[in-house]
């Protein structure tokens, strides 16, 4: 009898039920979308901030002082120490290897560009370079990943080719176009080396006046095979908090372990210097701090917005549940007139609402996954993965809110005197 009553209420007035289910589903769809986007977006946002550029700089530990102004090292090529390129695969073996998003070694050589253009900086680096990792795999990275604001018109040079990319200012002042050939030689030497220009580079920095080539070419020109001078590393990090600012030397063993196993920029820096011997790993403060500040603000904002959406969804679902109970006053009156007690009526309606919540919540979840996809793609440029965990939360939330929403009118209904209701008052 109980089940028949529940079933009847669904089959007899399908339009009503569909309407309140639609409201429930819409509310839960929004909740699903908000939850899935914000669960996934935290990591994505951190990656977004990597477009600020590298946050770690690796230089030789025992080195003469670089004479660097505006990104150009004015030391002669034979001064100072160098680092071995062959070690770089080890970066992907540190504890937080998956947080190393990109890295690119740099070797600068002052060159003469023919005919008669002395003191041009030639920058050798990687683009789309496959680095062999000690575990047998390889990892593709390069300056295009660490410095995403470097725009190349045309294309980047290919590794192991006699190609180069020229800075936009340099191209303008020497009248170079894509497809032209430039000849370069180290300052004061004789033999020219011809390179084909395949792209024009715009960085907004000193590289605009430079020539950029594959690292191997720069190494040959400088007479430093297999070596580099500076390494930029872009790492995903956790914004520094009070704990991260403590000096690791004063930490207890337990604290140190916790610090070491948290992807703070400082602990990643330590891990890199442990792997790459003879290096000095420095945190590029402006990037690391700017990133940390903004990221923690944005994360709070994101949760706040999710909370606001959940709250609104809860209100909407609760209100529609309340409305669907109020609508059925006459029915309740009739049941009571026929001898049902308030408890039975309550259980009957609650069962109905639960059924509605589970079906509506399920539909809402499906719609919400699509909505999350649209929102994720439009706003953040990625698609959040649907999670079973979110489905469980949504079903639980839907049941809880519909029950809460119906509880208030149900309590009122319990007090109804059947006679006036049946009279239509």
């Amino acid at each position: 009898m109980f089940l028949r009553l529940v079933a009847d209420s669904f089959t007899r007035r399908p339009r009503r039920k569909i309407l309140s289910m639609a409201a429930l589903a819409m509310g839960m769809a929004v909740a699903t979308a908000a939850l899935s986007v914000s669960l996934d977006v935290g990591d994505r946002l951190a990656q977004e901030f990597r477009s600020l550029g590298a946050n770690l700089l690796v230089t030789p530990e025992a080195d003469s002082l670089p004479l660097e102004i505006g990104g150009v090292d004015y030391r002669p090529a034979n001064a100072g120490t160098y680092l071995p390129e062959a070690d770089l695969g080890k970066l992907k073996t540190i504890f937080w290897r998956f947080n190393i998003m990109a890295f690119a070694p740099i070797l600068e050589v002052p060159v003469e560009v023919g005919p008669a253009k002395p003191n041009v900086t030639l920058i050798g680096t990687w683009v789309g370079h496959a680095v062999p990792v000690p575990d047998g795999t390889s990892y593709v990275t390069g300056i295009d990943k660490t410095n995403p604001w470097w725009h190349v018109e045309g294309s980047w040079f290919k590794e192991a080719s006699e190609q180069c990319v020229v800075g936009t200012e340099f191209a303008k002042s020497s009248g170079l176009k894509i497809g032209d050939t430039v000849s370069v030689r180290p300052n004061g030497e004789v033999g020219w080396r011809a390179l084909k220009v395949v792209g024009i580079l715009t960085t907004g920095g000193p590289e605009d006046a430079a020539v950029v080539t594959p690292l191997a070419i720069a190494q040959q020109l400088a007479g430093k095979p297999g070596q580099y001078r500076r390494l930029y590393v872009s790492a995903l990090t956790k914004p520094e908090d009070a704990f991260a600012r403590k000096d690791p030397k004063t930490m207890t063993q337990a604290e140190f372990d916790k610090w070491y196993c948290t992807p703070y920029i400082s602990s990643i820096a330590l891990q890199i210097s442990e792997e790459l011997k003879g290096t000095d790993v420095r945190v590029i403060r402006r990037v690391a701090e700017g990133e940390g500040n903004v990221l923690s603000r944005v994360r709070t904002l994101l949760w706040l917005v999710t909370f606001a959406a959940l709250l609104a969804a809860a209100l909407a679902v609760g209100a529609s549940a309340a409305a669907s109970v109020i609508e059925r006053r006459t029915e309740i009156g009739l049941m009571k007139a026929l001898g049902a007690n308030s408890g039975l009526v309550g259980v009957l309606l609650a069962a109905e609402q639960l059924l509605l919540a589970i079906v509506g919540g399920g539909i809402g979840y499906a719609v919400g996954v699509v909505l999350a996809r649209v929102l994720g793609e439009r706003i953040f440029g990625f698609t959040p993965e649907p999670k079973i965990f979110v489905l469980l939360i949504i079903l639980g939330l839907a049941s809880l809110i519909t029950l809460l929403g119906s509880a208030f009118p149900l309590r009122q209904a319990a007090r109804y005197d059947p006679a006036p209701i049946l009279r239509g008052e």
């Binding site: 505006g70 420095r282 500040n293 609104a312 529609s320 706003i379």
Partner: protein
Amino acid sequence: MGSSSMFWRIERRLLTTNYGRLFVILLALGAGAAVTSALLNLQMDAKKRLTTEFRALGANVIITPRQANNEVSGGATLEEGVLSRLPIVYEGKRVPEVGFLYVIGEVAKSGEAHFEPAVIAGTEGQGLTQVRPGKRTEYVVDLENDPEACEIGAKAAAQFKVRAGDSLQLRNQGNAAKCKVFAVVATGGAEDTQIFTKLKTAQGLANLDGRLSLIQLSVTATPDSVKAFIATLGEQLPGANVSGIKQFAEAEGRIYNRISGLLSSTVLLVLFLTSLCVMAGMSNVAVERKNDVGLMKAIGGSVRRVVRLFLTEAILLGIGGGLIGSAVGIMVSIWLGKAVFGVAAEPRWIVYPVSVTLTVMVSILSAFPLRRLASIRPAYVFRGEE
């Protein structure tokens, strides 16, 4: 007019017959309005706050001489007077601006005879710490105002084995100078290897009186506004090259758009949910009012009049909920601003009317279920068949 006063009397009755329902609908509209106005206000504020946060990145505008600034000493330089012609304030915010003159000189700790080449940067202007963010690992405040004070990068400090309080000897092209270290700074960039002196010291060493290599500015404004600043300044300084630092500008712009998009789409979703909520309430109203409408029609009320009655009700509810909710929302956003950005959000008054208008629109749209009342046939209603 008699019919008008009748209209309002019915209206009052409609609103006050069921306080419980009135409360639920007002609560829905009010909550929607509150969330809308809070998020809108936060959105306007977020941009401003984030521009401030982003200034942790340091300088975002750089002024260089017209010719490529590739060679250092003897290369192109700017006139020092440019520094005093720059705006001190932009959009109500102070603009830190520092002129630099770079010299590759030779440096030794005082008392030692072995000199090593290093970059000496003469600086002049307000806000060196803002255009060149970093961490001062050592800092002696008292020495800062010394006429011979200088600051040294962490890597250079290690190389020359100096600490705050020590003195340095500087020389270049036969000129010599002395300076007293007041701070050691770690930035992670090229600055770690440089020595920051007063501008006059560097100018003396390089024989470049009254000249600068470049000027760095840190403008607190949105990316578009910074572009406008660069364009205006470029016109005012025909002899110089004014450009933005692309590295940060692009990332900043992208992050703003993401956040803005996030907040506006949430506002849309919340308004949609509010209308669902109100619609649920209104469909109850429709059921309850069948008899009233039947009676109105039976005694000659036109459909248009009945509809107008309910529309007015929806508008009144929207205005009521909107006025209260939006005010609450703006207050909440002030507090939220504090929670998110550490600074109370400024209330923008434009948000208030916008959010009230949106709420009224939502309320009118949600009165859609009442359209059923227009098609009521009085006779059937009174027989209890509809």
